[in-house]
């Protein structure tokens, strides 16, 4: 069936902010869907609240709305744009749920909008756990024995028949949110309560656990003519019991005979037909009893998913792109397979001749109090994918791509709870526990157990990891052990080749042999052992392809076939983590697209399968490789690029910059030395002094004693942090010498090579971010952003406003001048981000302090680009390639008439028990943008986009630290005027009442019941304003924030945040919606 002609326009709903379980894979799928539908001539309307997405670039859709993904807001968009259809399967669970809301609320019917891709009933059947079970029964597929519950009582009754361990899965959530495995009654009650609360339908399912069974996924695509193909099978190395997003997974499935595989294939197809997924991609998850092949179905997702992004990258089959076309009527046989240049149709099943391994990346170090056991609720924040010709090569490449300081199966830290002088037996017991209780680093303990002589059988018995995988790991460790004690010189070419074929990194070999990485590399080159590049072609070489999607391996024939064109290589950002996510990928994509337009051949290097940068369409040539020195140098060797861009991928490529330069790589843009100048406190301080600018008093300490004495010189409070970090890792505010001493002892390992930076903390300062571009001659200010939270909250966690909402022209101009001076002083070529702190001085003016300068792409670049309509990353990429700002015609970026607010999104709900207070260490996973005619309107939308909806009436609870007592009065007055009742703890109550406002006093927790938490639990409080300082006070109010978070009561921990909330109270979800071109006006000209 050809393209439908009865619809002319399609609304695509995006996934919103990056959260655990929903990351940039939906930008990849959404961007593909936009492109696919536009090229078929459809008018594409897009809504997504996440500005750091490629899909929200002006050229991607005909009408783009960076607005909250809330059905009431989307209704306004539908009202204005009148799309003929809505495609909800590209934006994860967020889009699916929003579409179901639109349907339920009658919006689709009212405006005559057809839901395409998946019908409401199909979504409901797949997501409603009870209906799904019954549907599976109908087609003869087994599901785990289960009970459905809507209340705690029902759950307790259900537990009687299920027993422990019991798996709890809420309906209609993603990433297994709110779910878990209960081993006892206490855990059961806690997980059930959370699950009931998080489920949109207050429904949970209790399941018998099939812990230890093998887990598989099938990525399936179906068209309107009922043609169905399996794009990819995925096998989890980690058996059942761990969320697939947190599992190490491998494609294709490796331990099934054809007979079993076909059973699973047929079942997948039956599931799609039964659920009624008319078109598009779906993911079906199975579990298999390794003892007898018994198969049960776990769940299915009637939409593209993280796994489909992985499957697309693993096979070269663009699932989202094809799914979008199927949704508008095409059938599989009518569509070409892009990777073979259309020589083959999309209606085939990819065959792959390599092994793909995905390893999740966790960030538990950011949440030390979080439970880091892996269960059915996803906890990882990113992932890395690696391609190798064998499993060994593939997994070792994946591990070194994680960037967690390992180059392979490095020796893990001591098992938990073990004294240094533990006996061999104690060690063994502790190790066994690490293998049984799955945490983020279990794989390394598995390797260590094998290293310590555990038999493969015992490892299998304890972990239930399939013997096939255990043996592969055992062989890796066996080779490693055999290498120990050998000298580098004694390794001959044959042996070196074997080791490299099995995926050993040069760095890993160096650490096993006891030499350094460069020595291994030199020896390897002497022996003539170098990687070749093979292509991902979706057909195992059966057809010739021109697409240059490549991976390295140690084989005989190289297929890279480099051209002799002028090439620019862009180094990507690797796996997502807190502090380095989609924003950097956005920049890398823009660099590739811009330079491609300018006639360069662009080479992308990255290993994050979720991204747009690893779409083989984004650059001319894609190297899906770990971002390590070894792997990058090997590509440079083959390609000989004219320039290498290291400043767009975040800290990942920056860390390589020096070594790359030393190895002769042509790094373009700001030199590594200038980057170092900006990051090296002492060198930077000299520059600041030269330029006559100010910094908060600061020192660098290399020992604890030194730190204490230097701190005395500059005075408390202090911001302390290790040098060279991104995302404020291990950054804290110390109020006293005691706190500093504790920090120096416990939080960081300080040394000569990694000193600790001490900065005087500026109380009550306003923080401002400025993004700029410098070409060596001219500097253009891209955007000035005023933070809403005071200085001291990590800029990545802080909300901010562009343009500033309370700064005068003069100080903004002054900031611009300082940026210009520093950009030139540093010799920046490309992007530069500066953070300032402004402190009001006695004369009513501002004292400007430079907090830090980062001569590289910053997290705010996409936000600024979306707010102003000027694509900074593109402009700067051209600058780096040698085209000046003047040549590009960029003299200035106009300050927009609209206000845009960026708000951060946090993963606290996923980590029960973690204090959601903000500080200098970054904790947010993503961000949203809200735009309005006023700051209040923009802040309202940004908050709604982050799923925080402010109440319009009710009771506001106020409890603030002493220094905020004066400021809280104005907030109280505004809340009261807006009709709120006020409730406050004693000190705050006195301050508020003294101002003549009606306010009820309430006990703090330690003052006895009924106290504030009781009121929160009784749903008597609707807004929480709670500011604190000092460790003790923070801990005291922890329960208040915990309760507010758990009950989804809007809360703020800063006075500035409280003021912003007041400003937002006059806005609502039925306000106007703005298209990007409304915001950009003439500025845009479709350039971004």
């Amino acid at each position: 069936m050809p393209k439908r002609t009865d619809i002319d326009s399609v609304l695509i709903i995006g996934a919103g902010p990056i959260v655990i379980g929903q990351a940039c894979e939906f930008d990849y799928s959404g961007a593909q869907a936009c492109k696919a539908l536009k090229e078929e001539g459809f008018r594409v309307i897009l809504v997504n609240s996440n500005p750091a997405t490629i899909m929200t670039d002006p050229a991607m859709a005909d009408a783009t709305y960076i607005e909250p993904i809330d059905w009431r807001v989307v209704e306004r968009i539908i009202e204005r744009e009148r799309p003929a259809a809505v495609l909800p399967t590209m934006g994860g669970q967020t889009a699916l749920n929003c579409a179901l809301d639109l349907d339920r609320e009658g919006v689709l019917e009212k405006y005559g909008v057809e839901m395409i891709g998946a019908k409401p009933d199909a979504i409901d059947m797949a997501e409603d756990r009870d209906r799904f079970r019954r549907a599976m029964d109908d087609i003869g597929l087994a599901t785990p024995r289960a009970e459905i519950a809507h209340t705690m009582e029902e759950a307790r009754a259900g537990l009687e028949s299920i027993g422990f361990p019991c798996i709890i899965r809420p309906s209609f959530t993603m990433g297994g949110s709110g779910g878990g495995i209960a081993y006892n009654r206490e855990e059961f009650e806690a997980i059930v309560a959370r699950g009931l609360d998080l489920s949109r339908t207050n429904e949970i399912q209790l399941e018998t656990s099939v812990l230890g069974w093998k887990e598989y996924e099938m990525e399936v695509v179906r068209d309107t003519a009922d043609n169905v193909i399996i794009v990819c099978s995925i096998e989890n190395l980690d058996p059942m019991g761990i969320h697939t997003g947190d599992s190490i997974t491998v494609a294709p499935a490796l331990t099934l005979t054809d007979k079993e595989y076909q059973i699973m294939r047929n079942a997948s197809i039956d599931v799609l037909r039964k659920i009624g997924v008319e078109t598009g991609g779906s993911n079906v998850q199975f579990s298999i009893n390794p003892a007898n092949g018994e198969m049960i179905i776990i769940e299915m997702n009637p939409r593209v998913s993280r796994s489909s992004a992985l499957a697309s990258k693993a096979t070269g089959f663009p699932i989202a792109r094809i799914a979008a076309k199927l949704a508008v009527g095409f059938t599989l046989d009518e569509l070409g397979n892009e990777i073979t240049g259309g020589k083959t149709p999309a209606s085939f099943e990819p065959s792959i001749d390599y092994i793909v391994t995905k390893v999740p990346r966790f960030t538990f170090e950011k949440f030390p109090t979080a439970d880091n056991r892996l269960t059915t609720q996803m906890k990882s924040v990113g992932e890395v994918m690696a391609i190798g010709r064998t499993f060994k090569e593939s997994i070792q490449k994946a591990l070194r791509g994680l960037e967690i300081g390992v180059s392979g199966f490095d020796e893990p830290p001591m098992p938990r709870g073990l004294a240094d002088d533990a006996t061999e037996e104690e060690f063994d017991t502790a190790l066994e526990r690490e293998l049984r209780e799955v945490r983020e680093n279990r794989l390394w303990y598995v390797a260590d157990a094998l290293r310590r002589g555990w038999s493969r059988e015992r490892v299998h018995e304890v972990t239930a990891i399939d013997p096939w995988f255990v043996n592969q790991l055992a062989e890796i460790i066996g080779d490693e052990q055999a290498l120990r004690g050998r000298s580098l010189e004694s390794v001959d070419a044959h042996q070196m080749r074997r080791l490299k074929r099995d995926g050993f990194a040069d760095a890993r070999l160096a650490s096993v042999i006891g030499t350094d990485e460069s020595a291994v590399r030199t020896r390897r080159h002497e022996l003539g052992v170098r990687p070749v590049y093979k292509r991902v072609d979706s057909c195992a070489a059966e057809f010739a392809t021109t697409t240059a999607y490549m991976y390295s391996t140690y084989e005989q024939v190289c297929e890279s076939e480099p051209t002799d064109r002028d090439k620019i290589m862009v180094l990507g950002g690797g796996p997502n983590r807190i502090g380095q996510g989609i924003e950097f990928d956005y920049c890398c994509v823009h660099a590739a697209l811009a330079l491609r337009e300018d006639g360069y051949e662009t080479l992308m290097v990255n290993c994050n399968p979720e991204t747009v940068s690893t779409d083989f369409d984004t650059s001319d040539r894609l190297y899906f490789e770990p971002l390590t020195l070894e792997d990058v140098l090997a590509i440079i060797d083959v390609e000989k690029p004219k320039g290498v861009i290291v400043q767009y991928g975040g800290q990942t490529p920056l860390k390589l910059a020096r070594d790359l330069l030393a190895a002769g790589a042509p790094i373009i843009g700001t030199s590594p030395d200038s980057i170092d100048l900006a990051e090296d406190r002492e060198r930077f301080q000299q520059l600041i002094e030269q330029l006559g600018l100010k910094q908060p008093p600061n020192r660098t300490a290399r020992t604890e004693e030194q730190a204490l004495s230097l701190a005395a010189e500059i005075g408390y409070p202090l911001v302390v942090r290790p040098s060279y970090v991104l995302g404020g890792r291990a950054m804290e505010i110390c109020q006293s010498e005691t706190e500093l001493a504790r920090y120096m002892r416990e939080a960081v390992s300080v040394s000569n090579d990694s000193p600790v930076l001490l900065d005087r903390f500026l109380n009550d300062a306003i923080e401002v971010d400025v993004d700029a571009i410098c070409d060596g001659t001219d500097v253009v200010i891209g955007g000035v952003m005023q933070h809403i939270e005071e200085a001291g909250i990590h800029s990545g966690d802080s909300a901010c406003s562009l343009p500033p909402y309370s700064l005068d022209e003069a100080v903004i101009a002054e900031l611009g001048e300082q940026v210009r001076a520093m950009a030139k002083g540093l010799g920046v070529i490309g992007l530069m981000n500066t953070q300032f702190a402004l402190q009001a001085d006695s004369s009513g003016g501002w004292t400007v302090y430079v907090l830090e300068v980062n001569p590289r792409a910053s997290r705010t670049v996409p936000f600024v680009s979306k707010a102003t309509g000027v694509p900074l990353a593109r402009v700067a990429a051209r600058v780096m390639a040698g085209m000046s700002l003047a040549e590009q015609g960029i003299n200035d970026v106009a300050v927009p008439d609209f206000v845009s607010v960026k708000e951060s999104v946090f993963p606290f709900a996923k980590f029960p028990g973690v204090d959601p207070v903000l500080g200098p260490e970054m904790k947010s996973t993503g961000e949203v943008m809200g735009t309005g005619r006023s700051f209040g309107e923009a802040f309202y939308k940004a908050s709604l986009g982050a799923s925080v909806e402010f109440p319009t009436s009710g009771t506001a609870f106020l409890s603030v630290r002493d220094q905020d007592k004066a400021g809280i009065v104005e907030v109280a007055r505004r809340l009261s005027a807006a009709g709120f009742s006020l409730m406050a703890t004693a000190g705050t109550e006195r301050a508020v009442s003294a101002a003549g406002l009606k306010c009820k006093a309430v006990n703090k927790m330690q003052q006895g019941q009924p106290h504030v938490v009781d009121h929160i639990k009784n749903d008597e409080i609707h807004l929480v304003i709670n500011t604190t300082d000092g460790r003790q006070a923070v801990a005291d109010s922890y329960y208040i924030r915990q309760q507010a978070l758990g009950r989804k009561i809007p809360y703020t921990t800063t006075l500035a945040g409280a003021s912003a909330i007041c400003a937002a109270l006059t806005s609502g979800p039925d306000g106007p919606v703005y298209r990007l071109d409304d915001i950009h006006g003439d500025v845009a000209s479709g350039a971004a």
């Binding site: 087994a142 024995r145 656990s209 099939v210 230890g212 069974w213 003519a225 009922d226 043609n227 193909i229 294709p252 490796l254 331990t255 099934l256 005979t257 054809d258 007979k259 076909q262 294939r265 009893n289 007898n292 092949g293 018994e294 599989l332 083959t344 149709p345 209606s347 085939f348 099943e349 990819p350 065959s351 792959i352 001749d353 390599y354 010709r389 064998t390 002589g453 493969r456 059988e457 299998h460 018995e461 013997p467 096939w468 043996n471 062989e475 460790i477 066996g478 080779d479 055999a482 070196m496 080749r497 074997r498 057909c539 195992a540 070489a541 059966e542 057809f543 084989e555 005989q556 024939v557």
Partner: protein, 440 residues
């Protein structure tokens, strides 16, 4: 040429390349051991099953030389010796055992593009014929441990026991690309001590090629026999089902064996047929004497053109309007018996992911394919209609006689290995038979 693979000993070993398996140095276990492993069952009870970890080392050299002089060094699996045949590749990711035992691979050395082969071991249940028909096997890696509850032996043990020459540790992707660009060609596999390029090249060059080669006669059974087994289902490995006893009035299908795969026969039994397998050379009258309700023409190796005896038989039986279904070689023979011609393809179709479109409905089905010859679409007579085409290259995939109840399919609807999408053709055959019987 890279010589690294030639002595695939553990890199830590300085021992010279030897012709017997040496245990890896790091293996603490005895060469083979069994242990009990508990598995949680759905109902919460425990069951035990033995698992097996086998340790072996690959240390014997092997060599592949193509007739055009291209050569690859690797390590030997299976037995020492020499094998000569046409080198082809198959892109199926599962089902290596079914492929090896498929009689259609006679005189072919098959390269499997999936990098790990042997992961799930072997079991006699998965054999498509009683012997291994492929002349040799080429893989990238054979893992030292297999893992699957169905396995009764390792692939290496299986190859050795059945006398198959095989090579591992070569750049199979490079080989596949070479075959794709230069076409399937003769090759020689040598395994064990004394591998030598000159001898192998001479042997490869001497191979006459498959064109004009009548292999069906060689792999066919020597006497008629009844087939009574139905399809495999989960659980059959532990307790094989009893043979199916056909009802007295069950339709009788005579299957001409040009190298028939067992799964074809099983699928016929599943559909209630009483099946008699007869040798390829059985003449029409002998088949008529069996009083068939339907005629099945099996798959098989080699060039269909020299099978004039079979073509004659088929043409004669078609005149009886006997319902007829041909698969692969059987399909080509049906075409030849209907006055069309066949051609040799450049490198053929070998995989389990080939999309085929049914012309009447537009439906796309993913099929298993394994053929180096094809029916020449330009030579179809008026009595033949095209029913299926390949979406990969537009080649002809299915034909139907417009005058008599006969049809053929180029791919493998019986799968094994591969997707089951086209199994409906067996139902179609059963319906033709039923219609024929009710009309009679």
């Amino acid at each position: 040429m890279d010589n690294a693979g030639a002595g695939h000993v553990p890199f830590c070993s300085s021992a010279p390349v030897s012709d017997r398996g040496e245990p890896r140095e790091f293996a603490p276990e005895p060469a083979c051991l069994r242990y009990e492993c508990k598995d949680v069952r759905l109902d919460g009870r425990y069951s035990s099953r033995p698992l097996q970890f086998q340790i072996r080392a690959l240390s014997r050299p092997a060599l592949l030389v193509l007739a055009d002089g291209t050569s690859f060094d690797g390590v030997a699996l299976g037995i020492d010796g020499m094998a000569v045949g046409e080198v082809v590749f198959n892109t199926a990711m599962t089902g290596y055992q079914e492929i090896l035992s498929d009689p259609s691979y006679a005189r072919q050395i098959v390269t499997l593009t999936a990098p790990h082969i042997g992961n799930t071991g072997t079991t006699d249940v998965d054999l498509e014929a009683d012997v291994v028909h492929a002349t040799g096997l080429i893989v990238r890696d054979l893992p030292s441990v297999h893992s699957n509850f169905r396995a009764t032996d390792s692939l290496e043990g299986f190859l050795a026991a059945r006398g198959v020459v095989a090579i591992a540790d070569i750049d199979t992707r490079a080989l596949t690309r070479h075959l794709r660009d230069h076409g399937a060609q003769a090759g020689c596999l040598m395994a064990g001590p004394g591998c030598d390029v000159t001898t192998a090249l001479a042997a490869a060059k001497e191979f006459p090629g498959l064109a004009g080669m009548d292999l069906a006669r060689e792999v066919s059974c020597s006497a008629p026999y009844p087939w009574t087994a139905g399809s495999w289902t989960l659980g059959d490995d532990q307790a094989p089902p009893a043979p199916v006893t056909s009802a007295a009035d069950a339709p009788h299908v005579v299957a001409m064996d040009f190298g028939v795969k067992k799964n074809i026969l099983r699928l016929l039994v599943d559909r209630g047929c009483r099946v008699t397998v007869v040798p390829a050379t059985t003449n029409a009258d002998a088949i008529r004497a069996l009083q068939p309700d339907g005629l099945f023409l099996s798959n098989g190796p080699g060039d269909p053109e020299p099978c004039v005896y079979a073509i004659r038989t088929i043409a004669s039986l078609l005149e009886d309007r006997l319902p007829t279904f041909g698969i692969c070689l059987g399909h080509q023979l049906l075409a030849l018996a209907s006055s069309a011609a066949t051609i040799k393809m450049k490198f053929g179709h070998h995989g389990a992911n080939h999309p085929v479109q049914e012309c009447a409905t537009g439906r796309v089905m993913i099929t298993s394919q394994n053929h180096g010859f094809a029916v020449d679409a330009d030579t179809l007579t008026e009595s033949l209609a095209i029913t299926h085409v390949s979406l990969f290259d537009g080649s002809l995939q299915g034909i139907r006689r417009v005058d008599v109840p006969a049809f053929g399919f180029q791919g493998h609807p019986e799968a094994s290995p591969g997707p089951h999408d086209v199994q409906g053709l067996f139902d179609q055959f059963a319906e033709l038979i039923a219609a024929h019987r009710s009309a009679a």
